[in-house]
């Protein structure tokens, strides 16, 4: 397994609809999932919100590499969880799905350190997607909020808008942040952290990546 040049791979392999064929919406495994960038071979359920269930293939709009993209509406891309589904682990081992809201001071603090963690672990197979869902007043986040956020925190990983809060299956919109650790080989949820539980979260990710590297 090789995890070299993860940013480039993320760009090349993560593009919605470019690495896997599109399927008609009516054939999606989860009919409640939004259409537009679902992944054809996404794992079957059982879908759920707890450990060892499969995360639903949610679809968002955002910037795949905010540091290399104009922060404009025209540059928005479809980004789905399925983009990071990697059955043989050739590019991704773990997907960290994170939520953030502008009103959330903890989220802001967390995003000061996420790029550092991403730099450390993405070469070992970690992907991160963060979803901004509300603005400072608790209203649905807009493009300007996303722009301000990625520029304020110099976000190097995919960051998306989630104004409808599609991730409500996992945590209430009254609470932030959420950190969902997903096995990219199966899209099964490995752990769910409500809040920034940095010590436990990164210990889990480090342990799991180390375990997988040792078993190769």
């Amino acid at each position: 397994m090789s995890h070299g040049a993860p940013a480039l791979l993320a760009l090349l392999l993560g593009a919605c609809g470019t690495n896997r064929p599109e399927i008609p919406p009516e054939l999606l495994k989860d009919p409640s999932a939004p259409t537009g960038c679902a992944t054809a071979d996404y794992p079957a359920g059982p879908y759920g919100d707890s450990a060892d269930t499969v995360a639903i293939d949610r679809c968002f709009q955002g910037w795949r590499a905010p540091g290399k993209t104009a922060h404009t509406a025209a540059a928005l891309q479809d980004i789905s969880l399925g983009n990071f589904y990697d059955p043989d682990g050739s590019h991704y081992e773990i997907l960290l799905l994170n939520t953030a809201a502008v009103w959330c001071a903890v989220c802001k603090t967390e995003h000061q350190t996420l790029p550092e963690h991403y730099a450390e672990y993405s070469p070992r197979g970690l992907a991160i997607v963060s979803a901004l869902f509300q603005n400072s007043a608790g209203k649905p986040a807009e493009l300007s909020d996303l722009k301000t956020w990625v520029e304020a925190y110099d976000v190097p990983f995919p960051m998306v808008l989630d104004p409808d809060y599609q991730l409500q299956d996992y945590a209430s919109a009254e609470t932030a942040p959420l950190n969902l650790v997903i096995d990219a080989r199966s899209m099964r949820i490995m752990a769910k952290f409500i809040g920034n539980q940095s010590r436990d979260l990164w210990q889990l990710i480090d342990d799991e990546l180390t375990r997988r590297e040792a078993s190769e």
């Binding site: 001071a105 350190t113 110099d154």
Partner: protein
């Protein structure tokens, strides 16, 4: 330490316009040393138990006891925040805290219209009622924080170094030049809510905004001697920690919700002002004072 390790947030507003107008010729470059931000000792304490809070109620009033309508109220710990709620016309609000939270604090006021103050929870029960708390209205007009100049608001004076700059997240209400101006007001001791000083025995408290603005380098600070202490009276200045976070050193200058000394000073010869001499203000947050 944390900011040193991470690099400072890139969206920086310099107190000067930094040549942002392309039509304006740039002045000759000066060989001045770039201002450095104080790293801060960095605090984190992960051994606090998570608290299940449930429904939290409070009534927010201004210093004249009028209801503080539409005041932002939230419950935030070092790991989880709950979506802000806003007081009604009576100043009442209820916040439903659905998730167990580590070292939670009730934060009320938006640090723009009203001073924002934080009270750490000391219990673990559903139905916490904080009763009535008071917050000062901040001045409608703020004082721009400019290099080498005194910025004064509500009697609080900040003086940034000649090469100084201010760094602040550019989110509302701090997304405009006016929003980033200094606003300050005193919370009189008679209006301190229970638990505000967390055992720090504060005698004076001033609410400042824009909350969280890094002052680089740390700025000189003067406060009004509203207590009328004698000239020469020695005092200690403390800062309320409002940086959340669970990463090492995330709470830069004071433990979250608590008050940490940032320096000492004295009442000046005129008896009008408390002057911070043994230290400086590294970040705009609420400032407390106690006599030594």
């Amino acid at each position: 330490m944390l900011r040193t390790a991470l690099g400072l947030l890139p969206l920086t507003f310099a107190a000067v316009a930094c040549g942002s107008d392309p039509a304006t010729p740039e002045p000759p470059a000066q060989q001045t040393e770039p201002a450095k931000c104080e790293a801060g000792p960095g605090y984190v304490e992960l051994d606090y138990p998570k608290r299940a809070l449930g429904n939290v109620t409070v009534t927010v009033r201004t210093l004249d006891a009028a209801p503080a309508a539409d005041a932002l109220v939230e419950v935030c710990g070092i790991d989880v925040c709950t979506r802000p709620a806003y007081t009604d016309e009576r100043g009442d609000v209820s916040v439903s805290v659905q998730e167990p939270t580590t070292k939670p604090a009730l934060k009320y006021g938006d640090a723009f219209t009203y001073g924002e103050l934080a009270i750490l929870f000391d219990g673990d029960e559903d139905g916490t009622d904080f009763g009535t708390v008071y917050t000062p209205r901040l001045p409608v007009t703020g004082a721009p924080i400019l290099p080498g100049a005194r910025a004064e608001s509500g009697g609080v004076v900040l003086t940034l170094a000649d090469n100084g700059r201010v760094e602040l997240d550019p989110f509302p209400p701090y997304d405009t030049e006016d929003g980033r101006a200094l606003r300050a007001a005193e919370l009189p001791r008679a209006r301190f809510p229970s638990g505000l000083d967390h055992g720090a025995n504060l005698e004076l408290v001033f609410a400042l905004a824009p909350l969280g603005a890094r002052l680089c380098p740390s700025a000189a600070l003067e406060l009004p001697n509203s207590a009328g202490w004698e000239p020469g009276t020695s005092v200690e200045f403390l800062l309320q920690g409002l940086d959340a976070g669970t990463d090492a050193g995330a709470q830069l200058f004071a433990p979250y919700g608590e008050w940490q000394p940032i320096g000492t000073g004295a009442v000046d010869a005129t008896g009008e002002r408390l002057v911070l001499t043994g230290g400086a203000l590294p970040v705009i947050s609420n400032v407390g004072v106690r006599r030594l």
